[in-house]
Subunit: 211 residues, 2 copies
Amino acid sequence: MLEKELRDAYHFIFEEELLIEITKFGTLREVKAGETIIDIGDYVKSMPLLLEGAIKILREDKDGDELLLYFLERGDTCAMTLACCLGHTKSEIRAVAEKDTHLVMIPIDKMEEWTSRFKSWRNFVFESYHSRLTEMLDTIDTIAFYNMDERLMRYLQDKAKINKNEQIQVTHQEIAYDLHTSRVVVSRLLKKLEIEGKIGLQRNSIMVHDL
Amino acid sequence: MLEKELRDAYHFIFEEELLIEITKFGTLREVKAGETIIDIGDYVKSMPLLLEGAIKILREDKDGDELLLYFLERGDTCAMTLACCLGHTKSEIRAVAEKDTHLVMIPIDKMEEWTSRFKSWRNFVFESYHSRLTEMLDTIDTIAFYNMDERLMRYLQDKAKINKNEQIQVTHQEIAYDLHTSRVVVSRLLKKLEIEGKIGLQRNSIMVHDL
DNA sequence: CAGGCTATGTAACAAAGATCACATACTAAA
DNA sequence: TTTAGTATGTGATCTTTGTTACATAGCCTG
């Protein structure tokens, strides 16, 4: 089961020997949508590789309010966690399953071993860092350069893509948490987007027309 | 010259053999304060290591306006550029000398070679990615969770630290560029900080009392 | 020292977003 | 089918930031 999913997601990037190692030392972890995988302040003793599903990565402010940083999909790993693992520091972020999700958990010591042993692993790690930095830049752009209405539209589009469904199951309050704003503001802007014809609103769900 | 500065800044982290390699294949580059080292869209063919001085890293919006992401100091390297190098993509950011600065430029092919050959180099690269991700998180916190007056105060403190001088040579307009806001707003908030006794204002310079 | 350039101060108004208050609508459970 | 709980809609008001406009101040150069 682990092996099949692992091959589906990673056989393009990892060499045979490494895939075998992962099957041998990694453990499958299944999490339900909404479940917290890693929390802020956690010491991370193993590194997750995403097999199936999606994860959202959140940052918290001093009042405990959240901000969505980005989503991870199949074939991704959380470079933030990677960094924490290798640096043996606490997690700076929270990872929550966006959908039901399958992960392989890799023990840290194996990771370090593979870094010297497998070129494909090193490349994967570098590649992960690179994509995460790029995602972070994107997040900064969105926060710093766009107004809430544009941020909201992007959020809805991202969410629809991640869930492979233009009908999103979400409340205005939940969106407000992810965007670090208030429910009132979200409701108002959603109504505006609906009037502009970009989305359709129902209770507990939103249809994104404009993908 | 290069060798002495290199040893001063890096002998703690790099093994002897690697230091020799860097001296052999790296080239010293000296840049004046204000000079652009890497621009957005540049193809980066060599990787800078900071020997002396300081660099600021900026992001640009679609109108060409800027936003300061963070500063780099001696012993740092720009992980964003690193990512670009290894991924052979264009630079997503601009690097500008904050002070007169000395760099060693490392050719990409050497970097890749060293990644397999030297554990200390790999660790340095990982460590760089880690600190840059952390810096980016910090930047996001500042933009997303704080008002402009707090951002401004932090900016002044950072700048004073980087320049090792509580008297900063800067105009309100320059601050406005770095913080992606307008000169009027900066002047207003600076005046407020002055009244609160946190800073002192003179033409072309600011004294930061509250470090 | 006059004129021009750059930097700073500030008023007035606009826009975005935050906050409070309350009405209405939908849904599930009694 | 009430009713309680959750979700949404919307007005009113305040704060923060952006924008325009103009005054004043410091400094350099002829």
